[in-house]
């Protein structure tokens, strides 16, 4: 059973602050982490391997060279191997170009049964790359998977989260799933895993290794393009309602009562 998990290294937004005067982003010493939703994908891959008693979990990521750190973190959780896809020519890729690149990398690895992705990345928030990859590979997809009821090398029965509850879907494999937080609780890295991750050789593939077409990658390959970045108008300063609890509460209710009465 070959499982490929796609992960992305993202900035950790805890430390992202807004400069109160200029309203611009201050990003001092912000750490990079594995996209939180991808952690669930990695964990699910490991659980499937444990469930079936056999298999291989391969982690891939497209990003700048420092994304290697994220791959090593995934290996320290127990993944078997990893591949880094990086190349200056890939810079500026939107989700279309990214899903193309990742799909080609997956084809190069070949012979896979399942692709796992996190629901979305917390920096881009688009949730488009997963379905994009399955489109390129022309394999079935199920998004927002919250539970894998049954799984073998050829077939799976899963629960897809919906706004009302969930759908139960049966799909042949190979297929691609994007997973949500409800699916599991990611494990912490183990010491042996960390030591293994430190020593592991991670191959690096670039545009040439993957035989990518120039007009489908990077800035030129991206249909969408950002033309403007601006800070949203700041919320007007609010007021603190002072006084004894009952006083403050009365003031608040006075201000809100028209909003609340429908």
């Amino acid at each position: 059973m070959k499982i490929i998990v796609c992960i992305k290294q993202v900035p950790e937004t805890t430390n992202v602050k807004i400069d109160p005067e200029k309203g611009t982003l201050i990003r001092e010493g912000v750490d990079s982490i594995i996209n939180p939703f991808d952690m669930y994908a990695i964990e699910e891959g490991l659980r499937i391997k444990e469930r079936l008693g056999e298999g291989e979990v391969i982690i891939i990521s497209m990003g700048p060279p420092q994304a290697e750190q994220a791959l090593r973190e995934a290996i320290s959780m127990g993944a078997d191997s990893a591949v880094l896809i990086t190349d200056r020519k890939l810079a500026g890729s939107d989700t279309w170009a990214t899903s193309y690149t990742l799909a080609r990398a997956i084809e190069k690895i070949g012979d896979y049964n399942l692709i796992l992705c996190g629901k979305q990345a917390i920096d881009g928030d688009t949730a488009q790359v997963g379905p994009g990859i399955s489109s390129w590979l022309d394999i079935p997809q199920v998004t927002y998977v919250k539970k894998i009821r049954q799984i073998t090398k050829d077939k799976a029965v899963v629960e897809r989260m919906t706004e009302e509850g969930f759908d139960v879907i049966e799909t042949p494999l190979p297929a691609l799933f994007t997973v949500v937080k409800e699916i599991n609780e990611p494990r912490l890295p183990s010491l042996k895993g960390k030591l293994r991750a430190k020593k592991m050789e991670i191959p690096v593939w670039g545009v040439e290794d993957l035989g990518l077409e120039d007009d489908k990658i990077g800035l030129n390959g991206s249909p969408t393009r950002v033309v403007k970045i601006f800070t949203p108008p700041p919320r007007e300063k609010g007021m603190i309602l002072k006084g004894q609890p009952q006083e403050a509460v009365d003031k608040l209710v006075e201000k809100l009562k028209d909003v609340v009465i429908r």
Binding site: S135, V226, L252, V253, L256
Partner: protein, 396 residues
């Protein structure tokens, strides 16, 4: 590629401050340089530079898109009911179509669904394409994708809008790759640059700290998804007339995935997405039993109950209630945050609420910076008083 025009650069460093990827640094000759391995070409520096000293150079070949016309709205239906977000898209779509002097079409997939088409016309569509097939009764990724791709290739719409719902997002992402279109998710703003016939798609990034405007200059259709309750619903005009075209696929559709069951979770009355008022509890509550205080206030106000990640992680309430970066994003009319400190990951989930109220005993809590009204105090005292007072005032 991105490039600094050294002659224009004065080394003021404004670009360095705004770069979210720390990709810009000062050089020894007091200019700046950009590390292309870190640069994501997000253009924040270009916007910040007052001297236009940074440029992005692309190979530009203007393509002819005159064959593409009309604005399409994917009319998502579940169990035969058209989803409310569709009416909001029709409202916006009408505006866009008018600016482009073109038509607004709705695309409705389902089984025995054609009688729903009329409502779409009342809401502003000039034409509705209905595709009926047993396999389309409920959403399945592959047949829906196939139909939409075929329609796009046949009719060549200029713009396609869909709701940013579970279905919408899965569907249009797959379609976008197949038709080589640009797709922008979760737009909060859609405008037309009528000179270039470009759809200007505005959306938040970096958790809402920054807004980005995106275009798809060289690919058609220009696709965008929009969240529920962001745009205004189109009003019903029962005098409107329009065309309905019904297509069927004569069993030519296939699906490798099978829908075995659709299950509603009983008692899932949360629906944070729909709520006009949300009362949320956070770490300040201390334990699961104390959510009762939040629930009582919510009941009086007819509100949904939300929670911060801290409360969910502590096991005090289920994940369905979590508001924030890794939970739900909400924009109700009124959001009352009790015992929530207001870490950025929570804020990104609710900061676009119309009115934010914060109750926290820590005057330095970040939540007070986004709150329209705040009370510094013990929530165990304040919230019950609030419940009581609202009860009196609302006579409930």
């Amino acid at each position: 590629m991105i490039r600094v025009i050294k002659e224009k650069c004065t080394g003021c460093g404004l670009c360095i401050k705004v770069c979210p990827f720390s990709a810009i640094s000062k050089t020894s000759d007091n200019k700046v340089e950009i590390d292309v391995t870190k640069c994501n070409l997000c253009s924040a520096c270009i916007s910040a530079c007052k001297l236009s000293a940074i440029v992005i150079e692309r190979e530009e070949e203007k393509k002819d898109f005159s064959q593409y016309k009309n604005v399409w709205v994917f009319a998502e239906q579940k169990r035969g009911v058209i989803q409310p977000v569709v009416y909001e898209l029709l409202g916006k779509g009408r505006e866009l179509a008018d600016r482009l002097r073109s038509q607004l079409w709705a695309i409705l997939l389902g089984y025995r669904i054609r009688d729903q088409a009329q409502e779409l016309i009342y809401r502003g569509a000039d034409k509705v394409i209905v595709v009926e097939d047993l396999l389309l009764e409920n959403f399945l990724d592959e047949p829906y994708t196939q139909v939409l791709v075929d329609l796009i290739q046949k009719y060549k719409p200029e713009i396609l809008l869909a709701g940013a719902t579970t279905i919408g997002r899965a569907l249009v992402s797959r379609v976008a790759v197949k038709v080589h279109a640009g797709l922008t998710a979760d737009c909060t703003g859609l405008e037309i640059d009528s000179e270039e016939r470009l759809l200007l798609q505005t959306r938040p990034a970096f958790g809402g700290n920054i807004m980005a405007t995106i275009i798809t200059p060289n690919h058609r259709p220009q696709m965008a998804t929009v969240r529920h309750k962001v745009m205004k619903e189109a009003k019903v005009d029962s005098k409107r007339k329009g065309e309905v075209e019904v297509l069927n696929y004569d069993g030519k559709l296939g699906s490798r995935t099978k829908l075995i069951d659709m299950i509603d979770e009983v008692g899932k009355t949360v629906n944070l997405a729909e709520a006009d008022i949300i009362v949320s509890g956070g770490r300040g509550l201390g334990k699961a039993e104390n959510f009762r205080i939040i629930e009582e206030l919510a009941e009086v106000l007819g509100a949904a109950v939300g929670a911060s990640r801290a409360a969910v992680d502590a096991g005090w309430i289920s994940y369905a209630h979590q508001v924030g970066q890794t939970g739900r994003t909400v924009c109700p009319k009124l959001y009352i945050a009790c015992g929530i400190s207001g870490q950025i990951q929570h804020l990104v989930g609710m900061q676009s609420s119309d009115i934010i109220v914060a109750i926290n005993k820590d005057p330095e809590a970040p939540i007070f910076k986004v709150a329209d009204y705040g009370i510094v105090g013990d929530l165990f005292e304040i919230v019950p008083l609030l419940t009581k007072r609202f009860k009196e005032v609302l006579k409930r």
